[in-house]
Amino acid sequence: MRRDGSRGGAGFLALPLSVLLAFTLSGCRKEEPAAPGAPPAAARSATLILGGYTTPREVYGKAIIPAFKKAWQEKTGQQVEFRESYQGSGAQSRAIVGGFEADVAALSLEADIDRIAEAGLITHDWKAKPHGGMASDSIVVLAVRPGNPKKVADWPDLTRPGLNVLTPDPKTSGGAQWNVNAIYGAALRGFAGAPKDDRAAARELLKKVFRNVSIMDKGARESMTTFEKGVGDVAITYENEVLIGKQAGQKYDYVVPRSTILIENPVALVDKSVDKHGVRAVAEAFVEFLHGPEAQRIYARYGLRSVDEEVAKENVAQLPPVQDLWKIDDLGGWKKVSQELYGKDGVFTQIMTELGSKR
């Protein structure tokens, strides 16, 4: 065997050759039309690829998409097929940037759509759409055991020693940042036992709450699953997660803190994908449909708050009111919050470091 060492050149050539071959092959595949529903223009069917985050899987899959298909066929005679992908909002956003050719992105937070826009895949001003590009709303609430045995009513109650609080990890779940923002913001607004605009006091409140957090699951749904298994006294979560759990027969209640944040979930059409697939018309119609009253009523049926004022009024009796409801912009917008709370020296990062193993 060793004698062959002199001919090593051929073997070494094989490596770069195969690498080259592999790249060429994958390159070729990209040139083929990705969607079977690509032009000719008046095609009888079209395929839309929806890249969503996990929470609204049921809303889209079971209700909104069938409703849109029906409406679109009645209007144009064209059949729309959907290919749906659901994963964590951040992961979905990265997948789209990385080459997953979703025609429509429905994500948990603005920053995840912004990333797609910054990558040049969304070329229009998506926030100029109705409702600022937001398709659905919710609020951050506290899920408690039936009958609220621990008498939890508001943010400061979460600091009580011995209470076991669940919340997803704001690092692994961008959506979980809503929860942390809600506590911090409520404190800054003077609604959580801390003086108004007192950053040190808000930080202290957040720290005391997280001293009671013993489990941070990687996503909102996982966190609720843990809660459903009987772990914990309180779960900080979204109102629609609680409502959908209750619809599925789970036994828990929820309380709305006096002051909480309005969760806004954006939807945007991905220009580069729709143009490549030749499905702009139907994709635009779908996004428009999401903002329309029919889809808004469906969102509401699945526990989300409607962005449409008319529909919201219809449901006002079913959803508890919030004394002080505010938006991310009241904290200075996502960019500022990301830095102030979750950056390398952010408040949240510092708190987790300080709490350390002392608990």
Partner: protein, 282 residues
């Protein structure tokens, strides 16, 4: 087949492409599958220089995650070393009903998605189960604490030591053991002085492999650990968090450390086995 083979020169002198084609293809495959992805991780980890690399690892959260990971992996490897050796011995040297079934069961952890392992453990030890409720009433927390992590790792790495030791036991000549028995040695004496020296290197290799595997485990841990920084956050879960938080450099830096640890250990296993072969040959 047996008639054709001896006519071919072993060195493949007459048909270089045939031999080098296979070798080249295999090497290229190895490079594509393993080396290139690993290089990409290294490249990303060091792209901004050693200072940035170190900066990512020196934060208390990252450092503690690494410490915890090495600790639970070491505990896991230690338990596997003892229990795996005993299990392999029992499976290889005793006849009892259901032995074949149990032998097949050993490999099951490889077939189950580790995420399922995690969910299963939470159901089993969570407060709503009988066992979990009993443990909780005694103030013992298993799940969402370090013991839960070790339990998950033990499940995931169960086969390593057993499957390393078993073939050695089955291949070993038994006359020494039998001679010792006839001379009146107890079972323990035979195990301690005859069996153990034979299988120790294999057991150690298996334990090191399970250590390396435990370092990288994510799916089950993310469910059972609770993931509280500096307490129950392990390095792979930390890596996931950094990726989700768009800190690719931090994720790569930690991955490089985990890789280096695993790679170092595997080299160690390899070196031990080489040495063993040399000893046997010498």
């Amino acid at each position: 087949m047996s008639a054709a083979r001896p006519r071919r020169p072993v060195g493949g002198a007459g048909r270089p492409w045939g031999l080098w084609g296979l070798r080249g293809a295999v090497l290229a495959y190895l490079a594509l599958m393993i080396a290139v992805p690993l290089l990409a991780v290294f490249q990303r980890g060091f792209r901004d220089g050693l200072g940035a690399f170190w900066g990512e690892l020196s934060s208390p959260i990252a450092f503690d995650a690494l410490k915890l990971t090495v600790l639970v992996a070491a505990v896991t490897a230690g338990i596997n070393f003892v229990m795996g050796t005993l299990t392999a011995y029992v499976l290889a040297r005793y006849e009892f009903p259901g032995r074949r079934f149990l032998d097949g069961l050993v490999d099951m952890p490889f077939a189950i998605p580790t995420l399922v392992t995690g969910v299963m453990l939470v159901v089993l030890y969570g407060p709503s189960s009988v066992l979990g409720g009993w443990l909780e009433s005694r103030g013992v927390s298993v799940i969402f604490a370090k013991p839960g992590i070790v339990l998950a790792l033990l499940f995931v790495t169960y086969p390593f030591v057993i499957r390393a030791v078993q073939p050695v036991l089955l291949a070993a000549e038994r006359y020494e053991e039998e001679a010792a028995f006839t001379m009146g040695a107890s079972k323990w004496t035979v195990f301690r002085h005859i069996v153990l020296p034979t299988i120790l290197p294999a057991a150690a290799s298996g334990a090191l492999l399970s250590f390396a595997r435990a370092l990288g485990e994510f799916g089950s841990i993310v469910v059972v650990a609770g993931n509280i920084p500096r307490r129950t956050l392990t390095a792979p879960v930390h890596v996931f968090g950094e990726i989700e938080a768009h800190n690719e450099r931090g994720a790569s830096a930690m991955s490089v450390v985990l890789l280096a640890l695993s790679f170092g250990l595997l080299l160690l296993v390899d070196w031990r086995q080489r040495r063993k072969v040399q000893v046997l040959r010498g």
